[in-house]
Every structure is written in structure tokens, then in C-alpha cells.
């Protein structure tokens, strides 16, 4: 399952819930909109994402809009809008955590 998170991890518990609940086998996390803030290096959320046990993707346009081009942690995968579509198509199901 592809888990999409669009809220700042400092503002809501969406990402924490994904990381707590999601089945890691076959799972993936896609951070979009304010969700991308979770992937800033040296942030309080970096360790939990590193321990996600699933691939983590970040939507490039949303990271760029927020000035995070050079601030993201290692180990996350950047995707463009085409990559977003591929991720959705490549997973059996998708859950948007609002």
C-alpha cells in the first residue's frame, strides 16, 4: 500500500500514525505538500523516517516550493508528478492520510 501524507508532522500525527500502523511489507510512504517537512535532515522526525522500514518518497515540486532543495535527509527518493502517478499505479492500493 502507498501511504500519502500531506500534513506537517509537527502539526498533526498523520505521519506518526502511518509509521505506527502501516504494514511494512509492500508498503511505501509518499510525502507531499506540508508532509515533505518530515524529511528535513537533522529534524526531530528524521530518525523515525529512517526507521520506517519502507521506501520513502518526496514530491520534488513541494520540497522546492518550501526551500528544502538542499535540506533533505539521505535515503529518501525524490519524485516528480509523473513519478507520483507511477507510484499510485504501482501499488495495489493507496491511502491518503488526511
Amino acid at each position: 500500500m502507498l501511504h500519502i501524507v500531506n500534513k506537517s508532522p509537527f502539526d498533526t500525527g498523520s505521519l506518526a500514525s502511518v509509521l505506527r500502523v502501516a504494514k511494512k511489507d509492500g508498503g511505501a510512504v509518499l510525502l507531499i505538500e506540508d508532509g515533505v517537512y518530515a524529511a528535513v535532515k537533522s529534524s526531530a522526525t528524521e530518525a523515525s523516517l529512517k526507521a520506517a522500514g519502507m521506501p520513502v518518497y518526496v514530491l520534488q515540486a513541494d520540497a522546492d516550493a518550501r526551500g528544502l532543495q538542499s535540506k533533505l535527509m539521505e535515503g529518501v527518493n525524490m519524485v516528480d508528478y509523473g513519478g507520483f502517478v507511477d507510484l499510485v499505479a504501482g501499488h495495489d492500493n493507496v491511502q491518503s492520510w488526511l
Binding site: 500531506n6 500534513k7 506537517s8 509537527f10 502539526d11 505538500e33 506540508d34 517537512y37 528535513v40 535532515k41 537533522s42 529534524s43 526531530a44 528524521e46 520534488q60 515540486a61 513541494d62 522546492d64 516550493a65 518550501r66 526551500g67 528544502l68 532543495q69 538542499s70 535540506k71
Partner: protein
């Protein structure tokens, strides 16, 4: 129609603090808050801005919004000085939790502890939160 409103001569000056706690693009709060701040400058009050929690993300350098088709309003924070709004306070813990330092910010600010921020807030006549 006039370009600008002015308070009556001799009106009392109050201390206004605008407290920014939201990230810039996920919601409209940051942009709306900034507009209110610019308008408030016309009233010749003692205005300050505080950036706490996700509000610190508003000031991150290098925002580039072409890909999301939204207006990049971050350059406007640099115009505040021209509006005589020079008191920008940033909560240190909020920065640190988000992997940011003062060098990542696009304007000169005063970074302070939670206790100092609390003192600043306590001195205000009016606090408006966005």
C-alpha cells in the same frame, strides 16, 4: 478613496504581536497573516512578529514555487523593514526541532528561548495568531 489610513493625531500606540504558527503553503494562514501585518503598518502601532512551531518554515530561504503553481510570497518578508516592521522573533526550539538554524532564514531575526518568547508575549497589548 485614499491610499492609506492614518490614526487620529495623538492616538495611543499599542503593542501588537502577530504570532505565526503555520507553514507557508499548506494553508492560507501564513499569506493572510502577512497581508494583515502589512495593513497594520499603516496604523503606526508598535508591531512585532513571532514565528513559532511550523511558522518558522515561512522564513526558509530558497523557496521556489514554480512547480506547484502558487505565488512565492517569501520575498515579501524582506519588505517588512521598509514598512518599519523590524521586530521579528523566532522560537529557537521550533527551529531546532525542524532541522533549521538562523542561517537558513531569509531575513534578520532575533532567535530566542521559549521563556524569552513568553516574556515578549506577556508585554503585548494585542496578540493575533495565524
Amino acid at each position: 478613496m485614499s491610499d492609506e489610513m492614518d490614526f487620529e493625531e495623538g492616538g495611543t500606540v499599542k503593542k501588537f504581536m502577530f504570532v505565526n504558527r503555520k507553514a507557508p503553503y499548506g494553508t492560507i494562514y501564513a499569506l493572510e497573516g502577512l497581508e494583515v501585518v502589512l495593513i497594520s503598518a499603516a496604523f503606526d502601532q508598535d508591531v512585532s512578529l513571532a514565528f513559532v512551531d511550523d511558522g518558522v518554515f515561512q522564513l526558509v530561504k530558497g523557496q521556489k514555487t514554480d512547480g506547484v503553481e502558487m505565488k512565492n510570497f517569501s520575498p515579501t518578508y524582506r519588505a517588512l523593514e521598509g514598512y518599519d516592521i523590524e521586530k521579528l522573533y523566532v522560537d529557537r526550539e521550533s527551529l531546532e526541532a525542524r532541522g533549521l538554524t538562523e542561517d537558513d532564514l531569509l531575513v534578520d531575526v532575533q532567535v530566542m528561548s521559549a521563556a524569552e518568547m513568553g516574556d515578549m508575549m506577556a508585554q503585548q497589548d494585542v496578540l493575533i495568531s495565524f
